[in-house]
Symmetry: C2
Subunit: 352 residues, 2 copies
DNA sequence: CTTGTTTGCACAATCGATGGTGCAAGAACT
DNA sequence: AGTTCTTGCACCATCGATTGTGCAAACAAG
C-alpha cells in the first residue's frame, strides 16, 4: 500500500538515493561486493535502502544478462492424478531448497505438445528441464540439445540422456504375483481369469506387461494373448474395454491388473454403470498408489512408485559433469489393501 | 542436432543474414510489420530465415523491454490433491488457450511462504496472478498491489480484490442434508451422532460449518458444540481426532462430515489401524470429490466444486476494467455414492 | 523540373542487472 | 618528496527485443 501504483524500485533508483553507482548497488545486492572491494559501510547503507524500498531484483533483466533464469522446469503428462501431482509436489520442494523457482507444465502425452512446451520453457531460459513421463523423450531431447539445455528423463526413458525410472518389470512381477497369491487361499486363478488392462505401447507399459506375463507363466503355467488389453490411458477407453469384456462374458475376470490409476478410473466408471453387481470375487492390482483406491470394497493391491527416490536421484544425476545416457532403476513398493501411506503432504506444517 | 552446441539465433543473427536491420526483423517476427510498412517480400524472406534457423524469441529480453512476460501465475496451497491438481489442469488449459504460459506454484498454506512466492513470481514479471486457496489472500494482495500486478482470489476470498469461491454455505447445507436423509430410511440420526471433522478457521471452513450447523438444527433439532472438530488440514491431525473419539466412545459417529479429501485421508489412516471394525453403519460426507473415495465400502456422499466454472469466472472477472472487490459464488454439486465423474483428463486425446 | 506524398526501412534509446576495466585518493615505503 | 600499492568505487558495454523517430528513394502531382 505504501508505494502503491509506483513501479518497483530498481538498482538505478537505489543508486540515485544512495549516491553510489548502479554497479555498486548491484554488487552489494547480489553478494559480489566483497570481490569488488565495496566498503562495509557503503554496503550496509545500500542494503538498508533496499530494505525500506522493498527492492527485489528484476529477474528478467538478470536472466537476460546472465542467460540464466533461476527457473527449473518439470514437464508432466498431466497434473490431475496422484502420481504426477506428487511428482510436482516433491519436485517443487527440491527446487526451492536449491533457491530456485519451479515451473511445472503439462503436455498431455502429446509428442508435438511436448516439444512445443519444451521450446516455450527454453524461450524463458530455464536452467534445467526434468522430462517426466514424456511420450517422446528423444524428441524433447533434440529441442533441449539444440538450446544447450541440461535435461533428464523421469518415468519414461529416452536414449540420449540419463533416465531415472521405476523398475516397471520388477513392479509388474510383484504386483502380478501378489494378485495370484491372493487367490491361493481360496480358489486359485486360472490363466484366463487374470487380465491386464490399460497402458499403451510405451516403455513402462511394455515392461509391466513383460513382468505380468513372466510371472503368470511361471505361476499359472500359461498366459493367453487375449488377457493383455492395452487400451491406452484415457479412462473412457478402459471403461469401454471392461464393458466389452462384460458384454461378452457376463462378468469381469476375477483378477485384474490395471496399468495405472487413470485406467482404474475407467473401471470405476464401468462399476458405476453396474450397480447390481457386487464384484465379490474381484481382486485388483493397480500400478499406482492412491489412498482411497486402497480401501475399496474389494481387495486392491497397489504399487507405489518411489517418487521421492526418483526425484532425488534425478537431481543427483543431472548435477553430474557428463552424465551418460543410462537408465537408473528405482524400486517401487508393493502396497497391501487397506493401507494409508503418508506422502509429501505430511511434510507440511499445519498452522492453526 | 543440426546446430547443437551453437547458441540460439537472435534477431541480430537474422538481421545479418537477411541484410535488414534488427528492428525490421523484430517487426516481422512479432507481427507488427504491417504497421511498419515492411514489404511483404522482405517479411517473407525473414520469416523463412527464422524458420530454417529455428529462431524463437528470447522471452526474457522481450519481457524486460515490455515489462510483461507472458507468464500467468497460479498460487496453490499444494499440488498433491485432486481438487488442487484439477485446478492446475484447468487453469493450464485456459492460460494456454490465451497463448500464454502457465506457472503453477504451491505455498503450503503458509502466509509467509505465500507472500514470498508471490514476490518471486513478481520478480519474473508475471502478467497476472490467480491466488487459490491462500491462507492470507490480503497479504498476497499487498505484495501484488505494490507491484501493480493484476490478481484475483479463488477458493478463499480476500477483501481487496474480487474473489471467486465455492458457495461453501450452500455446499455445506447440501452435504449435511444428504447425510441426514441417508439415514432416514433406517434409523434416523441423533444430533450427537453427526460430527464434522477437519478444516480450520478459514472462510471456507467457517461457511461449511455454518451450513452444517444450520441444517443440523433444522432437521435434527440440535447441534452440540462438541460435534464440530476443526482439526486443521493435516491428515495426521484428523487421524488423531478420530483416534481420540474412538478411544472415548468405542466407535465412530455414524454420520461424518469431513471437511476435505485431505482430512478424509486422515480417516483412512484411522481405519487402517482398525482392521477389525467394519464400519457398517457409517455414512461419510466429504467436501471434495475423488472418484476412488466415492466407491468406498460405506456410503460416501461428496461435493464436487465446480473447478471449471470457477476458473472460467475468474478469467472473466480479471479481464474486467476495474473489478470490484466482491465475491462471486459458484455452486458446487452434490455427488451421490458410487459415482465416477469425468474430469479435465477426458478432454485429452489418447494417441495410440 | 520542382514540390509534396508515400513507401520501406534504418537508427538509436530503452528495459534492469552484470562484470570487465580504469582511475582517483589515500596509505605505505624508500 | 617521489614512487608503488591498495582501497573504493564509477564508467560503460552487454544481454535480445521493442518502438518512437527520422530519412532516403520512389512516385505522384502541378
Amino acid at each position: 500500500m505504501a508505494n502503491s501504483g509506483k513501479k518497483k524500485a530498481t538498482i538505478y533508483d537505489l543508486s540515485v538515493l544512495s549516491g553510489s553507482s548502479p554497479s555498486t548497488v548491484s554488487a552489494v545486492l547480489n553478494g559480489t561486493w566483497q570481490k569488488r572491494r565495496i566498503k562495509e559501510s557503503t554496503a550496509e547503507f545500500i542494503r538498508s535502502l533496499a530494505e525500506t524500498h522493498q527492492y527485489t531484483a528484476n529477474r528478467q533483466a538478470r536472466g537476460l544478462r546472465s542467460s540464466r533464469s533461476g527457473l527449473i522446469g518439470l514437464l508432466l503428462p498431466i497434473h490431475d492424478n496422484r502420481y504426477f501431482s506428487s511428482m510436482a509436489q516433491t519436485f517443487e520442494a527440491h527446487v526451492r531448497s536449491k533457491g530456485q523457482c519451479p515451473i511445472v507444465v503439462s503436455a498431455s502425452r502429446d509428442p508435438k505438445e511436448e516439444r512445443k512446451t519444451a521450446e516455450t520453457l527454453i524461450s524463458y531460459s530455464i536452467d534445467e528441464l526434468f522430462i517426466c513421463g514424456a511420450t517422446d523423450p528423444d524428441g524433447v531431447h533434440e529441442v533441449c540439445e539444440a538450446a544447450g539445455l541440461k535435461h533428464i528423463n523421469i518415468d519414461l526413458p529416452g536414449t540420449k540422456v540419463p533416465s531415472v525410472i521405476s523398475d516397471n518389470y520388477e513392479g509388474g512381477r510383484m504386483l502380478t504375483e501378489a494378485i495370484i497369491r491372493h487367490f491361493q487361499a481360496t480358489r486359485p486363478l486360472e490363466p484366463h481369469e487374470l487380465y491386464l488392462f490399460g497402458g499403451r505401447n510405451d516403455h513402462a507399459s511394455r515392461e509391466r506387461i513383460r513382468g505380468f506375463r513372466a510371472v503368470k507363466n511361471e505361476l499359472l503355467g500359461a498366459d493367453p494373448d487375449e488377457c493383455i488389453q492395452p487400451t491406452g490411458y484415457a479412462p473412457n477407453n478402459a471403461r469401454l474395454a471392461f464393458e466389452a469384456f462384460y458384454e461378452k462374458h457376463g462378468k469381469l475376470p476375477r483378477g485384474l491388473f490395471v496399468n495405472s490409476s487413470i485406467n482404474f478410473e475407467g473401471l470405476l466408471r464401468f462399476m458405476a454403470g453396474h450397480p447390481h453387481e457386487n464384484f465379490a470375487d474381484l481382486v485388483v492390482g493397480c500400478y499406482d498408489y492412491d489412498p482411497f483406491a486402497s480401501f475399496l470394497p474389494f481387495p486392491v493391491i497397489m504399487i507405489r512408485q518411489d517418487v521421492e527416490g526418483m526425484i532425488t536421484k534425478a537431481f543427483d544425476v543431472i548435477e553430474e559433469a557428463r552424465p551418460q545416457p543410462c537408465i537408473h532403476l528405482i524400486q517401487p513398493e508393493l502396497v497391501q489393501p487397506r493401507t494409508a501411506l503418508t506422502g509429501p503432504l505430511d511434510a507440511l506444517k499445519d498452522i492453526e
